[in-house]
């Protein structure tokens, strides 16, 4: 089929509907139904105006952060449905086809990984950084509020492409890593891999811009007196993570764009014939992919640091060592990518270098674990939900870390490569390490954002179900991996594995209950919000600046900027019964006006992606032209800010004091 012979709809036709499997039809109906329900709900409750002006076009970093986290939680549900479907298939597919055809099963594990990394973990992290970092450094917004909104809508646009692939066309069957030559057009000609490519490129561009935004925010917008070594630990980890975003994400953009050129325009980067180099893909992909692991986990380390210190009622132990450990991890993360493909055959010496570098990363990570333990040592620990996640993390993460050191030994790696041992290992890092950290952050900072705490009971239930569910779901996979079970098996003939796979399915069911408990917790807390309300702005007796302002904070965050002279300055002032010195300034506060540029660029990039996927060239060109036109027109506008008068601020402050 020649591309120029296609009509307006490109290669889109009636066969794009997911009629190949009843499960896929069900998934498509649920996706469309959920989308329609949201639109209907907004219409019935007449909330379109609020939704548009309060959220979609808002440039307030706190609201953009909340939208990121809502996106992450929606995608968590979608990604988890994929996960439990994989587990159910493997639990029953001994010597049988199970309930999923192979083509569909392959889409499910591909979308599970893609969603969980790019559209669950990344937005969750970006959302938390967005909300908390400006508050922790005593700033009124991020450095580039409009860029922030654009980044969010690009991420949402990528997520939209993944979601819509379930309804129109199919998703990739090439796994979340999309290795060629299988992902090349010769072996996988449909739209699936293209959906994956464009979802990843579009959201990846958004992430690169988020990284730039956060670096400038942290380095240039700190409160007076806040030197680098006085920054809260979460800000440090956000800074290192952002630096990694700026320097690692170009690799992802390059490698996916090259794969797209191969697939769409007949280039030969990774093909088997005409001088392609498939192995170059693995290198480029993991030059991004390994730093990505640390992009995700460093902010989680930051959250654990804040939580441990607050709920142990103690100063963070070994703050400088935590800062240096974070920086060292960030640097070393660029030196280990080859350990993802020791079996490629780079040679014993190369493998040895990368194996040793990998083990070295364990050292600063170990330093951190000891710092957290010593922070708790002789502390007065309050067992609120955030520290429960932290405790569970510390135990499980050490187990995962040790299996990582095993995998870092090339000869061991050869025997466990692409087995479920590896699957168990990286889930062991990413669920307790990353997700538990974000959930701890969610429960810790929720009262700051919404003005009331999440109630404890369902949070504790969720914590136990997630922790036990995780152990049941993944520890058996270490065993099956050692017994030789490859990852991504749609069906298998070895009866020895089945009891373990049934056990992992039970674990997945417990995690499902844990997710339901999260929803119940949110529901119960919203209904009982008058009892859980936080009038002080500091419900946990915490230590950093975000707790100094009211909950929820006013749109300008701080009426007067705090002057910082030491670490945990807010806590020290509380101890002395004084207040932090404030920098009073009678001038008005300037804040960014709402802008629809973000959502327009998100829509335009969706058109570019959708057009490229389906060969609707006019749509892609339309999206590209709209993008360029909007950026140029915006650059002519000067009135992008509005001001809040000092009288208004004084009135707000008086009103808040009256309310207390």
């Amino acid at each position: 089929m020649r591309m120029t012979d296609l009509g307006w709809l490109g290669r889109l036709g009636i066969e794009a509907l997911p009629l190949y499997s009843w499960v896929a039809v069900g998934g498509a109906l649920v996706t469309v139904g959920a989308g329609a329900a949201v639109l209907l709900g907004l219409t019935i409750s007449r909330q379109w105006g609020n939704f548009w002006s309060g959220w979609v076009t808002s440039l307030d970093h706190k609201r953009i952060g909340v939208m990121y986290i809502v996106l992450a939680l929606i995608m968590l549900i979608r990604g988890f449905v994929d996960a439990i479907m994989i587990r159910l298939q493997q639990a029953i597919a001994l010597n049988s086809e199970g309930y999923l055809p192979p083509e569909h099963f392959d889409q499910i594990f591909s979308s599970h990984g893609t969603i969980m990394i790019f559209f669950m973990a990344m937005p969750f992290m970006t959302g938390l950084i967005n909300i908390i970092v400006p508050l922790q450094i005593g700033a009124r917004d991020v450095a580039f509020p409009l860029l922030n909104s654009i980044s969010f809508w690009l991420t949402a646009s990528g997520a939209g492409l993944v979601l819509i692939s379930l309804v129109i066309g199919r998703f990739s069957t090439a796994g979340w890593t999309g290795y060629p030559p299988y992902s090349g057009v010769e072996f996988t000609p449909g739209v699936g891999v293209d959906y994956w490519i464009w979802a990843v490129i579009i959201s990846g561009v958004g992430t690169t811009m988020s990284g730039i935004n956060f670096i400038v925010t942290i380095l240039r917008k700190r409160a007076p007196g806040m030197k680098l070594m006085l920054m809260p630990m979460f800000v440090w980890t956000a800074l290192c993570s952002s630096i990694l975003m700026v320097f690692a994400f170009p690799a992802l953009t390059v490698v996916t764009a090259m794969l797209s050129l191969d697939r769409t325009f007949g280039f030969h980067f990774f093909t088997n014939d005409a001088g392609g180099e498939a192995m170059n893909y693995m290198n480029l992909f993991w030059i991004w992919g390994h730093p990505e692991v640390y992009i995700l986990i460093l902010p989680a380390f930051g959250i654990f640091s804040e939580v441990v210190s607050t709920f142990s009622s103690k100063r963070l132990f070994g703050y400088p060592s935590l800062v240096y450990a974070t920086a060292v991890i960030a640097i070393l993360s660029f030196t280990v990518w080859l350990h993802h493909f020791f079996t490629m055959g780079a040679g014993a010496n190369v493998n040895a270098v990368f194996g040793i570098a990998t083990m070295v990363i364990g050292v600063p990570t170990g330093v951190k674990v000891f710092d957290w333990l010593f922070t708790m040592f002789r502390g007065r620990i309050r067992f609120e939900t955030p520290i429960l996640w932290t405790l569970s993390f510390m135990v499980l993460f050490v187990i995962g870390g040790m299996t990582g050191v095993l995998l870092a030994i090339p000869p061991v790696n050869f025997t466990t490569h692409n087995t479920t041992f590896l699957v168990a290992h990286f889930h062991n890092m990413i669920i307790p390490g990353v997700l538990f950290g974000y959930l701890a952050g969610y429960m810790y900072w929720f009262p700051k954002v919404f003005g009331f705490r999440l109630e404890r009971k369902w949070g504790v239930w969720s914590f136990w179900l997630w922790t036990i569910g995780f152990m049941l779901a993944f520890l058996p996979l270490y065993w099956t991996g050692l017994r030789g079970m490859p990852r991504r098996m749609e069906t298998y003939a070895n009866a020895e594995w089945q009891p373990f796979l049934v056990l992992t399915f039970v674990g997945a069911c417990l995690i499902l209950c844990g997710i339901i408990c999260l929803a119940l917790q949110l529901w119960a807390s919203v209904s009982k919000r008058s009892q859980l309300v936080d009038t002080t702005g500091d419900p946990w007796d915490a230590r950093t600046l975000e707790w100094m302002t009211s909950s929820p904070p006013p749109v300008y965050n701080f009426a007067a900027l705090p002057v910082v002279s030491e670490r945990d300055a807010f806590h020290v002032a509380k101890q002395n019964g004084t207040h932090l010195k404030l920098e009073f300034d009678d001038s008005d506060i300037h804040l960014p006006r709402n802008s629809m540029i973000g959502v327009i660029l998100g829509g335009a990039s969706f058109c570019i992606g959708f057009g490229m996927i389906w060969y609707m060239w006019w749509l892609a060109l339309l999206g590209l032209s709209a993008t360029i036109a909007v950026i140029i027109l915006r650059s002519f506008r000067e009135d992008t800010e509005y001001s809040v008068s000092s009288q208004q601020i004084a009135f707000d402050v008086a009103e808040r004091q009256g309310a207390q």
Binding site: A143, T253, E277
Partner: protein
């Protein structure tokens, strides 16, 4: 009156600092495409090599055009800083002409190669060649659009501080593309022509 200059005043503004970070990110992007080219340069799959395809004349003209434009855009920025909008517009127009000339010669070269059955689908070598040169060319195109926008802004708004800041960022971008071109020149064409 005090003449003391605080540390804050010497720091670039936030937008300029952010733009430096973007350039660093873009440098990584080019670095990876360069690395890919070096890996694939010998994967000619029986097709033509750089020796067969590259022309010294074309390369010289392109290089002269682009390197001259980096001087003219710097003059344009200086004119805007000294509040001389007319002169700034003049130098930007010259820059655009030189940049468009560069692109025209580049497109002619690439078209010739496609016409000689040496397009990007011919071999791994040509794939990586077209991608590297094409990525640079797309950046130059974006820079041209940006320069045209700046001409309009100078004409409408005059050399106000936000316009001058945008022009500074465009100048940085343009210099960056020159540096990348020197990389293209040294990594692609010189070894190809030396055979």
């Amino acid at each position: 009156m005090t003449t003391e200059v605080s540390r804050e005043d010497n720091l670039p503004n936030e937008a300029e600092f952010g733009f430096w970070l973007y350039l660093m990110s873009d440098a990584i992007l080019f670095g990876l495409i360069f690395a890919t080219y070096v890996v694939m340069v010998n994967n000619t799959a029986g097709g033509p090599t750089g020796d067969d395809l590259f022309s010294l004349n074309n390369l010289t003209i392109q290089t002269v055009l682009l390197l001259t434009s980096t001087l003219t855009i710097a003059l344009g920025h200086q004119a805007a800083v000294s509040k001389n909008a007319g002169s700034a517009i003049f130098w930007l127009v010259v820059t655009c002409v030189l940049g468009a000339g560069f692109l025209a010669f580049e497109l002619r070269e690439l078209n010739d190669m496609v016409a000689r059955e040496a397009g990007p689908g011919r071999s791994g070598f040509l794939t990586s060649f077209f991608t590297l040169v094409g990525t640079h060319g797309l950046h130059v195109t974006a820079g041209l659009l940006w320069a045209l926008t700046m001409i309009a802004q100078l004409a409408i708004k005059g050399p106000t501080p936000p316009v001058a800041s945008r022009l500074l960022r465009l100048t940085l971008f343009w210099h960056f593309l020159d540096i990348v071109w020197i990389g293209v020149f040294s990594v692609i064409y010189l070894p190809g022509l030396m055979g």
